[in-house]
Subunit: 125 residues, 2 copies
Amino acid sequence: MRDERFCASNCSFTRAIGTIGNKWKPIILNVIGTRTIRFGQLDSIVPLISRKVLTEQLKELEEDGLLERLAYKELPPRVEYKLSEKGLAFLPILESIKEWNCKYEVAPMPGEADKKSRINYARTV
Amino acid sequence: MRDERFCASNCSFTRAIGTIGNKWKPIILNVIGTRTIRFGQLDSIVPLISRKVLTEQLKELEEDGLLERLAYKELPPRVEYKLSEKGLAFLPILESIKEWNCKYEVAPMPGEADKKSRINYARTV
DNA sequence: TATTCTGGTTACCGCTGGGTAACTACAAAT
DNA sequence: ATTTGTAGTTACCCAGCGGTAACCAGAATA
C-alpha cells in the first residue's frame, strides 16, 4: 500500500505522502494515539479493516519508524504497539486535520437515523 | 478514489480522511498552492498521473469544496483551477507534513546517480 | 485542406488490492 | 481429550482501479 515510486522521489514531501498517504495509516495512528495497544484491540476498534491489511499497515508503519512493536515471547502470543517519537510527532498534524475539517466541511450530516450505522474511529470526536 | 464508507462516518476525522486520504490529492493541492493553474499544466507537472485520474481527482476536490474551477467558453477550451478558502486553509497542514518528514525521515537518500530520475512534485523542496 | 491545440470522455482490458477462510503454535482451562 | 485464545500467515479469488488509446468540438494556423 506504500507507493514505491513516491517513496523513491527526491522530494521530501512526495516521499512523506508515499509513506503515510493512504486511508488506513492516519486512522491507525489516530486510534493508537498516546496509548499502548494490542493487535486484537486494534482489530476490533477498526472494524472495517481486515486482519491481513491491518498486519500489513502495522508492518509498514513500523518499518517507517512511526510505530514500535513489542512482541512478548508467550503463548498465546501478545504483541503491543505504541507510537515512536516520530509517530507521536505526527499526532498534532492529525489534530489540525480534525480542526480543519470541522471548520470547513460543507456536507451536512445525514439524519440522525443514519448516524447509528456510521463508523467512528475517533478517540475524541 | 474517495472512500464512501469513510465519508459516511459520523466521525469528522474519518470523513476527512475519506476525502483527502489518498496519495494524489495532497500532491495536487501542494502543486497548485496559491497559484491559478490550467489543466494542461497540472498534467505536465504531475507526470505520473494519467489524464483520466487527474480529471477524476480534480472533480472530487471541486465537489469537496477544496478547489474552484473556472471554465472559459473558448475554443480550444481553457480551464483554470485554484484553491478555495478551504483548500488554502489546508496548505499549512501540508507544510507541517513537510517539516515533520524532514525532521524525522530516517531512510538515507539513495546515491546522487539515482536522484536525477526521481520524481519531484514540490514547489519548494 | 489538413493539422494543431485544449480539456476532457469513453471503451477496453490487465493487474492487483484486498476480502475470506483455513491453518499454525502451544499453553491453559474445561 | 477438546476447546479457547492470540497474532499472524497463506492460498485463493474476484471486483474494480487505473492505464492506454481513440475520439470529440471548433477556431486558428499553415
